[in-house]
């Protein structure tokens, strides 16, 4: 297209969080021309907010720990729709990946022996669920995400990775063969739009928790990668599976790590009762997140909530003592004092289940290659397109992610994708060009937005969208409410398509970025809504009042949402790990 600058790379990574930086590190060491496009300076990515740690069987707390036990927990935690080959890969490659992070300088907390400190987290067991609670989450105090993200950024500086910081990718560029050839991106500082042409395009764009009104997620978590993939016509997998973290600070939504329960904290209701003993007699407050979140909501619904409106419960930590809190949970003390006006050393923290993590995403294989399905329902690789981290669905989390597994997912599959792409580049992937029509198509929505002269404002529409999702697609779901929500979304789609961008200026125009983000949020929300209504069972984080049981006959599978006809199809779950027998689906209790 005339006047549109073209930048050419061997590989471009969209997103500068943990997954993007780990992929970039692998590729920057390869000598191929690689760039990371990030809408924020990389250390401002949401990985920085991860607190409790990275779960991995490194054998520090227990020398006999075994990655297979971690695999068992993860399969069970996923409610059996995590792919067992991918989980096997993550859990077995994990230790090496974590040691690499340590060698890069990650300041892990330490044991008396000088090894990496590990703490107990929810859903962890020894000996395939028979050996009691494990302590498998490697931690840097309660700032593990910060430590990990900064360490990866530092390692990338050391390796001279090229960064396009504060650049925002608006859409995928697809050529006539259906291959991905790059992205359209805006340099936020100057407002210039460019075509970034790349042999490999990797999405590491993170989650989309901002589709809900109440979320632990950063303001930047707007599902940009999912939005772009859906607009390009690619499917997303298990997108109805949203994790609600049990302990978001009431009112503010900021996260209180599961590690606070790992260190011995517990939840109480208005009677002062430790209610998790009733719901999960064995693991209590360290049951899986979906289980704890539902139990909390039930306590509130049954009138045992705390506070003036009886709409939250309390997290008690004071019995751990000031020393433990200062050394193990310093960040939580800070956040509680700032956002809840509560000092956990003396008083419990008001908490409520809060949207936290998107288990679904762009379906990929272990190499990060994005997948779609052909007309026979068979997997088909999308040429030139890769996804890693929260925006991808490998799937290691299935219906419910275990705490500490997201950081592991980022680095294991970021590394795997980087290695695979390097090898592919070595074998020779051609640099595909895009025609003017291809590029015009990708530029269409930017053009429309820049031409808009009337319509509702971005904040108004965003608030409406978030309220629909919060009210109709929350912790407990029901068919008729969801259908009602889908109708509301239909009307919202029309209005969002006509959103008004008042400020058309070029330099650091954050209003334009927010308008583009809003469209991505909407795409994720609609896919979530339709897939959720379609899955007529309760599994993992997807709990339905009208279908209370898990339905293995019909739904022991991934959902696949196809945007062109808004159709929900199915995809088989992998039950064939390479080195060990299958974990067969069982009744899931904690």
């Amino acid at each position: 297209m005339k006047g549109l600058r073209r930048l050419v790379f061997d590989a471009v990574i969209v997103g500068g969080g943990g997954a993007g930086l780990r992929t970039a590190l692998e590729l920057s060491q390869s000598g191929y021309k690689t760039a990371v496009i990030s809408k924020v300076f990389p250390t401002r990515s949401h990985t920085v907010s991860a607190q409790g740690g990275i779960t991995c069987a490194i054998g520090s707390d227990d020398p006999d720990d075994d990655w297979r036990w971690h695999m068992y927990d993860t399969v069970k935690g996923s409610d059996y729709i995590g792919d067992q080959d991918a989980i096997e890969y993550m859990c077995s490659e994990g230790p090496q990946t974590v040691f690499e992070l340590e060698h890069m300088g990650l300041p892990f907390s330490r044991t008396a022996e000088g090894r990496i400190y590990q703490r107990p987290f929810g859903g962890q067991s020894k000996d395939f669920g028979k050996g009691g609670q494990a302590a498998r989450t490697c931690a840097a105090a309660d700032r593990t995400g910060h430590a990990l993200l900064h360490t990866l950024y530092q390692a990338n500086l050391k390796n001279d990775t090229v960064f396009l910081n504060e650049w925002y990718a608006t859409d995928l560029v697809k050529n006539q063969d259906g291959a991905v050839v790059g992205v359209i991106a805006i340099c936020i500082e100057t407002g210039e739009t460019v075509f970034i042409n790349s042999r490999a395009t990797v999405f590491a764009t993170g989650g989309a928790g901002r589709i809900y009104a109440s979320t632990t997620n950063a303001l930047i978590n707007t599902g940009d990668g999912i939005g772009m993939a859906l607009r390009a016509g690619f499917p997303v997998q298990d997108i109805e599976m949203w994790q609600f973290h049990p302990t978001g600070i009431y009112g503010a939504g900021t996260l209180v790590t599961e590690g606070s329960r790992g260190e011995g904290g517990y939840l109480i209701n208005s009677d002062g009762e430790r209610f998790m003993e009733r719901y999960a007699p064995n693991t209590k407050d360290l049951a899986s997140r979906d289980v704890v979140a539902r139990s909390m909501v039930l306590e509130i619904l049954e009138g045992r909530g705390c506070g003036e409106n009886a709409d939250h419960v309390l997290l008690k930590l004071d019995h751990l003592g000031e020393d433990v809190l200062n050394s193990k949970l310093p960040g939580i003390l800070e956040l509680s004092r700032t956002f809840a006006h509560v000092d956990p050393v003396t008083d419990p923290i008001p908490v409520v289940p809060t949207c936290h993590y998107m288990m679904g995403g762009i379906p990929t294989n272990i190499n990060g290659q994005a997948l779609t399905q052909n007309s026979n329902g068979e997997d088909e690789i999308i040429d030139g397109f890769y996804a890693v981290g929260e925006s991808a669905c490998v799937s290691v989390h299935g219906g419910n992610r275990l705490g500490g597994n997201s950081l592991l997912d980022l680095v294991v599959f970021g590394r795997a994708a980087g290695k695979y792409i390097e090898e592919s580049l070595r074998q020779g992937i051609e640099q595909r060009r895009a025609s003017d029509t291809d590029i015009e198509q990708a530029m269409a929505r930017l053009q429309r937005l820049n031409d808009s002269d009337s319509g509702a404002s971005v904040p108004e529409l965003r608030t409406e969208l978030q309220n629909v999702m919060q009210n109709h697609f929350g912790v407990f779901r029901k068919g008729e409410f969801m259908r009602d929500g889908i109708e509301k979304l239909k009307i919202l789609r029309e209005r969002i398509a006509r959103v008004h961008l008042e400020d058309k200026s070029q330099i650091f125009n954050t209003a334009r970025i927010e308008a583009l983000e809003l469209e991505n949020l909407f795409e994720v929300a609609e896919a979530t809504a339709i897939a959720a209504e379609c899955r007529t069972e309760s599994r993992g984080a997807h709990a339905r009042d009208d279908f209370r049981d898990r339905d293995d006959d019909n739904w022991l599978c991934h959902s696949m949402y196809f945007p062109a006809d808004k159709r929900v199809g199915k995809r088989a779950v992998n039950f064939s790990p390479k080195t060990m027998p299958t974990f067969e689906p069982q009744i899931r209790s904690y």
Partner: protein
Amino acid sequence: MLVSIYRYNPDIDDKPVMRDIEVEIPAGKDLMILDVLELAKRKDSSIAYRRSCREGVCGSDGMNINGRNGLACITQLSEVVKPGKKLVLRPLPGLPVIRDLVVDMSIFYIQFEKVKPYLINDTPAPAIERLQSPEDREKLDGLYECILCACCSSNCPSFWWNPDKFIGPAGLLQAYRFLADSRDTAAAERLAGLDDPFSVFRCRGIMNCVAVCPKDLNPTRAIGHIRTMLIQQGT
């Protein structure tokens, strides 16, 4: 309440101005400054500022709030403005303004990169992690938590005066973070890179950095340690 915001959009404005905007604060609520900004942006979408985590860990929204540098997302209205008074928001001082509250942080990042902010250890890595005693690990506390918000360096007159030659408190805190790491083997190389009249020694110890660090870190102390190491090395 009245919020006075530093406005400059080079597309439109010849020079920066302070412009007032009336924001309705919900009764009985003590908002964070970032929430106030979001309310202001609902009325005037052209106000530009950076923000991400909204919980004080990403370092995006450093700005000058009623004369004092801080993070908008964890600074409470009641901490900085008396009832009935104006909230005054300006960009971080001493850095070029791109637009409104958004500053160009390039020079800040360049100084950060100068200190080789990454672990250097050329000995072969073991099959597991490198061991580190809890005592040695404790030496990194108060150093590794930096979020690169630039509240400190942009509050430092020495940095204003020599932003290209004085590393500044944020960069030096990171320099010491690696000097203090028992796993790092490049202390001599690191100190050699800092051994000039400007990089470290332009710090006058006035502790402006300490006064505003939103994470309660102490760059002045770290700089003191580096000075000592440089002096000991010279003798």
